[in-house]
Symmetry: C2
Subunit: 366 residues, 2 copies
């Protein structure tokens, strides 16, 4: 399927792996967050992300930006990744500092680089559509566009950002069409989201950004000069004995910021590649349930189980216990060695409040 895809020798992938995945507690924990977990098969979400990208950028051109607590596990899970390609951020500051630092470090190694960023913990089911979108966005980026892949919306989701596309970019000979984007709208209300969807012109922003590193650094220097300065100072000390000191000092002064809001919403124009690739942010237990195989009663069960009169439920166990359920509908049941979670599927988002409570009481089961 991917045999006709040419790997561009200047194309780099950056994977900011900073998210905790709080809503997937009790499986997702501070020391082993969502992206390190094999939620959808034998390999972790990070490994699946890397697997999707290596046909386009081999591991020598893959950078993972992560916290110090996760570096060892990342190296274990992606053993062929060069050590220097794991960039450790002292603390989470959002995607703009993480991706910005990676961009400046890439630029030193490959001034002609075109790079793209991908979340470490999302799922993509249609790899053919994914590949076509990547090649298209990569081409647009290499022609100078700040480019993003936009997902075809499947529901009037109010938790995502939307991007409006306008006319197609005529000059680029891409596998799928690339459009000029007109604006971001972050988390619209339900009515607006419905209007966006029925218009047919809006796509979801999944923070898959493509650009030439040159162009990105230029824009960063213009729109976030303070961040640019800090990152340049860090990059300048990267191969010296001062790296740790400079990194610690500069990083602590950096303001938390996403690439979306810190940069993309400020630039004068960018391109978008609409794609229908079976994407999911695996954002909560309901969403994970949608991605797992279902039985005849719409149950997604990953556990040794006995079920009678059970429907629309998500049952996930990482223990070898027997889970016996009778007369249950629309429930999420998550069974781990030290914590058990029960919550109605349509309240999956509220898992966060449990984690908040545990953190407040300094419980180490977060």
């Amino acid at each position: 399927m991917q045999s006709d895809i040419q790997s561009d020798r200047n194309f780099w992938s950056v994977i900011p792996a900073g998210g905790a995945g709080t809503r997937l507690w009790p499986l997702s924990r501070a020391e082993k967050p969502k992206f390190l977990l094999p939620l959808l098969g034998e390999r972790s979400l990070l490994q699946q992300t890397v697997d999707r990208l290596t046909p386009f950028s081999p591991l020598e051109r893959t950078i993972i930006v992560a916290g110090p607590a996760h570096a060892d596990e990342i190296a274990r899970q992606v053993p062929d990744l060069p050590t220097e390609n794991i960039v450790i951020e002292p603390s989470p500051k959002g995607t703009a500092p993480a991706i910005g630092l990676a961009a400046i470090l890439i630029h030193e190694r490959d001034p002609d680089a075109v790079m793209a960023s991908f979340a470490a913990d999302h799922a993509v089911q249609n790899l053919e559509a994914f590949g076509a979108a990547i090649r298209s966005a990569q081409l647009a980026a290499s022609e100078g566009w700040l480019t993003t892949i936009g997902l075809t919306p499947t529901r009037p989701e109010t938790g995502y950002g939307y991007i409006e596309r306008t006319e197609a970019i005529a000059s680029t000979n891409t596998p799928v069409p690339v459009y000029v984007a007109s604006r971001f709208t972050e988390k619209p209300d339900f009515e607006l989201a419905e209007a966006f969807i029925s218009s047919g012109r809006f796509v979801w922003n999944a923070s898959m950004f493509f650009w030439s590193v040159d162009r990105f650094i230029e824009e960063l220097a213009i729109h976030q000069p303070s961040l640019f300065e800090s990152l340049s100072a860090i990059a300048g000390a990267w191969r010296s004995a001062d790296r740790a000191d400079v990194l610690q000092r500069e990083w602590s002064s950096i303001e938390s910021m996403t690439v979306d809001q810190g940069l993309m919403e400020k630039v004068s124009g960018f391109a978008v590649v609409p794609a229908e690739m079976g994407w999911s942010d695996v954002g909560d237990w309901h969403g994970l349930g949608e991605l797992l195989e279902k039985d005849d009663h719409e149950n997604s069960i990953r556990a040794e189980s006995i079920v009678e009169d059970v429907s629309n439920s998500v049952v996930y166990s990482t223990t070898d216990r027997l889970v016996a359920l009778i007369g249950i509908d629309g429930l999420v049941v998550i069974d781990t060695p030290d914590a058990l979670l029960l919550i109605p599927r349509d309240r999956s988002q509220e898992v966060r409040s449990i984690v908040d409570q545990l953190r407040e009481s300094n419980d180490d089961r977060t």
Copy 2:
């Protein structure tokens, strides 16, 4: 409270401990059934039963009849019980053979004995009422009556047996009145159960039977001659080297039978002592929940837990896991090291079908 109760030196207690308590799975297991579990406090239901009875019959006059798999644990839980007072039945055959064998063995040790039988796995909350009923039933029994304690019904339960009382027995000077009973009705339908309750004349049969051993043996010989013969043969060999052989041979030929149906329903007349003693057969998780302390939302929780918007639920854990629940109503959640059960509280009885399935597949978690 019990200081005014005189222990009658001929009064014996027999505790047939044969029930499995299948409906309390996954806590109750074949190798550790309900009566051996500390379901309502620090001590097991059997220990609590013994504790209730020792003011009336000390351990030297307490007989526990149980299966071979449970003898060691019973000896551990009731360390001061004389070894010869644990009577081991080779297989469960119902209460008639168990109580019958105990009666014949008691008769040999104490021909003037009055004995009473008590289930090993029931709960009694009002010990004062329990004591008054015991003393009354014991007196009636010592005057020759086959006597039973009847529980004041609290709901039109269709799973129990009912006993109708008629006129009071005038001759007996008892702490509470004793009545002549007219008939047993086993498991009436709902309408009949409601009629029984509104009549005010019916009580529940909880198989608490009192009689002089003499009289009981007479009745057993009349109504169950074959059982009587087998039990006499066993008792005859009890203190000989042949005990094991005779017991094995005779026991295998014995028909399963309860005292209620095999004897009490056949005798020409018996007495009943109505009592309101906060009795429960702890029959299922709903019933156990009723006996545990409840929070402001009618939840009975015995687990380290975080609950939000949870009501009318029973949460019971024997692990040290955190149980987190959001948005749950009327659910039973039982958490054990090797099995987890979720079932609506009003379907608690159906737990049995899970155990049936496990047994069919020779799963050892029963």
